[in-house]
Amino acid sequence: MYLHSKLENKNNILQKVRNFDYILFLCILLLGLISLATMYSTDGGELLFHTKSHFLKFIIFTFLMILISFLNIRYWFTIGYLGYLIVVIMLVWTINFGITASGSQRWIDLYFINIQPSELMKICIILCLAKFFHRKRLENVNSFYSVIISLIIIFLPMSLVIIQPDLGTSLLISISGIIVLWFAGLNHKYFFYSFLITVISLPFIISFLKPYQKLRVLTFLNPDRDPLGAGYQIIQSKIAVGSGGLFGKGFLKGTQSYLEFLPEKHTDFIFTLFSEEFGFFGSVFLLLIYTIIIYRIIRTGVISRSYFAKIFCYSFGASMFVYIVINMSMVLGLLPIVGSPLPIMSYGGSSMLATMIGFGIVMSAKIHSEQSIA
């Protein structure tokens, strides 16, 4: 065994390059290209700040992703708790010294870059919980001790993000965590009961929501309630998507965005703009790319030898799926408006960084699929 691994180490680099997930990489590049084109369109067909910045970030993070993919997956197992702790500290820091923008304190100033720790938490929570369950025996998973610990791991960052306030991201973090619990083999009944409890306590939760959040829920239920106020975003978004038709209005010809009817078109509503300009076929194509990416992630999980890599890949793939679905459902009027970016497509460095790190770890898992973690 030892000899074998020694032999393996000799043609290490060559082996690694051969094992590199080129399909996933190509899909990510394609997605990046689409996102740049869309960003170019949100800037009104000019090379302005958003496009340039997005381009720069994409290039840097792609290199970062390649770098990560060649690091051994064991390394990520090792820093699983540490990374979680660092980001929790950053979240605490954010609460005290964060930068406030549009009513919430989400960013911390790292002098050369503003970073949003809550976005990084999306990936760190998966790493942390994956590590936590890696060693657990299946019968111990459902033990009181491990359930409580894992819930604390989930609730700590969630509550830190919720007080920023940023309901959307905290929900996404907790969903990522719950997904890991699911894959770790937590009993079905827990999910069933907690779902039941959530539904029953929904009225109470709503009463704890801030007025603007309540308004969003009401608006979701009936967007025509206040078409120029709270319902404006979702109505305009639906108009943009709906008016796209089969083939779309054409690149740089999306009137809804070009004439500034679309809100938040760089970030949460970027899919709306894409959908308006490229229509049903374009949207389905984009979904297809996302599907391939998620498929590749899950496939990496399937071929991975280590439980850690498996649980990470499955959870990360599922989380990606949830992010995409929540974002799209939101802009298509299937869910209330919660701030959730579309991975890679939306403008935002931290979100892209987290996603790219995730991709990097998945690629690393692919390259080191034979690697077992003790």
Partner: protein, 625 residues
Amino acid sequence: MIDQSDNVIKLSSINRRMFILATAKIIILGCIVSRLFFLQVRENKKYLTLSDKNRIREWKLPPVRGDFKDYFGNVIAGNFEAYQLHLIPEQVDDFRYTMNRIKNILELSDKQFQKLLKKKNKIKPWETLIVADNLSWKNFSKINNNLYDLNGVKPIISISRNYPYKENFTHILGYVSQANENDILSSEIIKEKFVQGLKVGKIGLEKTFEEDLIGSNSIERYEVNAYGRRISQLAFQQGDQGKTVKLTVDTEVQKLTNELLVDKAGSICAMDIFTGHVIAMHSSPSFDPNAFVFGISQDDWQLIRNNPMKPLVNKSISGNYSPGSTIKPIVALSALENEIVSTNFTVHCKGHDHPFELYGQTYHCWKKEGHGYMNMREAMKQSCDTYFYEVARRLGVDKLSETAKKFGLGEKVFGKLFNNEKNGLIPSTYWKKNALGRNWLLGETIITGIGQGYIQTTPIQLCLMTAQIANGGHKIYPELILRDKEDIKKDKFSSLVKNSKNIRFIQDAMFSSTNEIRGTSFKSRIDDPKYQFAGKTGTAQVKRITEKDRELDLKTVEIPYEERDHALYVAFGPYQNPRYAISILIEHGGSGGTVAAPLAKKLFKKIIDRHELRKNFQNKKYLDI
């Protein structure tokens, strides 16, 4: 090995769960795709419309108003190009500087300047600020010369209402002015076509024919962004000018009536006795309707409003006056028709010493010395009141009112054409019981016989009455609007009298009044048979004449203006072959014979001179077709 087996269980668990979740993912993905399909394919049309509604906005431009033309096709209310100065604050680099430059060039007062600044603050920076809406050519060219210095300032030529004959047609046409809230609320059409700066008719025919005249808006279609800023023009749709309304009026005659009534308060109406065409209808004093187009200044408005001669009242149709002696032809006719008296019936008028007496009440003739023995023709000619007191007493008010109503008194001449036309009032016993709740007194019949008391008529009614006497007692419908296809009413030209001898007698009596010595308007006669006309004077008392007044016997000029008699005159001509009827009223003018009748002389000359032209024009029109 335990670890190993545990690992196997763990792996099978995670893989099983992965498949469960993967199935769920596929289902959810299906939902998203079907939602996309629903929005983008099924509901595409709906959202495309909504998107266009978002981005396309239409700007209506004021429609071009239709013209008014007189009988001969002259434009009496048209459009002219108004020079305006527009400014878009956003496009101006230095607003203060530019405004000050404009202020200096146009020599604006500080008050106007402040008003403009206030107006600017009310609008969005990309909306148009109208700096001036009707610039003189001089100022307009000055602005154009300085354009290099005035960024964002736009000299605009806009189309606006113009009344070339100024005060001549004011009371017929009315005027247009900025549409206000009431106009918009009261008319669907105005509401539909409303744009900032739209002028609508406020009164007169401009108001009546609003729907025909208004025309349709030109439409500019722009692509706008979410904040309403225009991005690009997509289309321009040219609107249609409003319809032209042709009038029966002859501008030359109308102008003459204006000249005749200058500095007087009163009205002149002239009518074709067969077609019913009103060829002139003027109320004096008048005012220039052009002043209202861009909004009249407060000072000018007060000047018009507070003028004691009441320029705002259209006296021809909304002035109720006692007809005075001009009612006598109707009284005489009624008496003859009802066979109360014959033409030979004689009354002795003994003057003020022995006035007509009834139940202790005395009724005086206007002539102090009395007229002596009067038959009907003489009484008409010299307008003997005593004679008509007696005739009226025998006739009774109900029979009189019946005849008067037949001849068009007591009801609106133009029907619904004007909303300010008055009915006048022809009293009867029934009316008094109904309206005042008291019984009719015989004394009231007596004074009704000379056109005093309750009886009230408008000048246009008197004109119609005279026209119907002149045409031999046939019913006509006065027309002010020249229609391409005249709708002939069933009872047009139906006879209003039982015996045509009677009407011929009345015509002859009116002839004598103007053309025979001792006739009340003898001085105003024209001997040339081409122009010769027959008429009846009237002097309507405004207040009751007391014994003291009678003793004083003051001249007209010595009486306060408000208490002076109204002078009236009705006539038709040429006598040999009557064609036109006129009525003249001078408010507080004094006696009808001395003030009103002389105007008829000039008027008939003009009207009859132009008759040939009018006839030929009409024939030519038919030839053209």
